[in-house]
């Protein structure tokens, strides 16, 4: 039952849940998270280190915000439909048999 509901919600999510407001919400939240992570020396080190490791350039953050800001509703819907598909998923549930 839960599995059925979950997949039903997932099916509708890409089409119905992604709109201009929800994309802007994610952009706001991403920016807040990124800036709050930079408040400590440890946070700055992780931030720069991650950019160097994943993108080969610790300066990548200068382009990064622009990339996030340029993401459109259409692009996000396309990515959602590509990855959040029932065929790509594994359903795992852990039960207490009693």
């Amino acid at each position: 039952m839960i599995q059925k509901d979950l997949y039903k919600t997932l099916d509708m999510a890409c089409e119905k849940q992604i709109d201009e407001r929800s994309v802007q919400r994610i952009k706001n939240q991403y920016l807040v998270d990124m800036l709050s992570g930079l408040e400590t020396n440890s946070g700055v080190a992780s931030f720069l280190g991650n950019r160097e490791v994943y993108y080969g350039d610790y300066n990548f953050y200068k382009k990064e915000i622009g990339i996030y800001n340029s993401v459109t509703v259409t692009e996000l819907k396309a990515a959602c439909e590509k990855y959040l598909k029932k065929e790509n998923s594994i359903f795992l549930s852990i039960w207490n048999k009693n």
């Binding site: 919400r25 939240q29 991403y30 807040v32 998270d33 800036l35 709050s36 408040e39 400590t40």
Partner: protein, 453 residues
Amino acid sequence: MKYILLTFIICANLFASNYLDENLKKYKWGDLEVVWLEDSTFPTYDITVYFNDGALSESSHGTTQLMFDELTSGTTRYSRKEILDVLEFYGASYGANVTHEYSTFSLSGLVKDIEPSLKMVCHLFKSTTYPIKEINKTKARARTGLKNLVNNHGALASRIFRELSLKETPYSNPVGGSLSTLNKISAKDLHTRLLEFNQKIKKKIYIKAPAGTKGIKNIIAKDCGWDGKKATVSVELPKVKKKSSKKDKIYFVSVPNANQAQIRIGTYLNSEQSGKDYTLNELASRYIGGGFTSVLMQELRVKRGLTYSAGAYASSQSSYGRVGINTFTKNETIVETLQVIKEVIEKQTKDIPVESFSYLKNFLKGTYLFGLESSSAFIKNLLFFDHIGRDYDEIYAFPKEVDSVTIDQAKNKIAELFDWSTQTKLVLGDKKLIKVLKKAGYSVEVVKYNKFL
């Protein structure tokens, strides 16, 4: 030339300013005190409202906490879903902290979105209606959480220990309330409490944001209606007197399915003790149980394998403080662990090696500064200093203060804070341990955990 240069260096050091000197501004917005840390490093803001009242003055325990927690339950204009949608949209973080002595409400987010976020928070303070349906759901969740505490032995031990160790003071009850007190709290009680906080209780605003961030002053005055003119009430904090001797009595709490015993040992600081020796208290408690190299960790875990972790603390509020040791062990080693803790404390009152004392000082100076890195932590520190009447300059004096502490002072402080005869001792675990503890010579008083839920 040499002397001119030397004079210049000395003068430069004398007049060198620090981060606070450069960035801290104090304002009066009407009669409302404002502390503003002007920092343009990031386009973000942190606002914390200090209320000079906490859980101590409430008629039913848990009312103040629930009043803050349910600020988003619904207003005259918006449902809970709509409120959360607005605040989440702007990426705003918010939350309250209630202590017995004072309460705070904090909001943070992006400067570009400060106006709609802050206006929403002001709307919540003015217009939350505490819909009965929402409040009942929250109370039901809180009751379930309390009943489930029996499965979280560490949290249950700490909850019961607070009540028992502070029972001679007015600060013993948990600020979140209990099963019986939560039942008594109605939506009307929450609304009445909110009105008191909004209209009567004295407030102070702490801000960290770029200089000149627009809108805050106007929104606080017009939308929140806080100008400090009428809201002047401060809670009266009763003084806490000297504690009595506990001898070798142990409170024992029996819980089902316990293969480990939780240990809590500690006491309270009276008003006189809590208002002085902040650095010395910190140093003494960290030496006993702050980090992996502390004496308790070394003696209990490294040398004897009696536990995975052990910690000690000494914290001060305005009118009382708490000192304590937390650890746990296997059922089989409960007596040995208690004995080792007692011996470790006694030993430190007589002998502290110079080398480990020096390590501790460096550790303390380093961790203190790292603890002030985030803006919210820094603001909370300023707020707490104001609450307990400490000067902001003490932040910068801390390393020197630490360096000035002598080994004899630390030994005497450990003896004063952790004196075995004044500590309340609690063990939570399997009931078979009652017999074991009695056999070891302890006087055991059995308490039922459900009386503390």
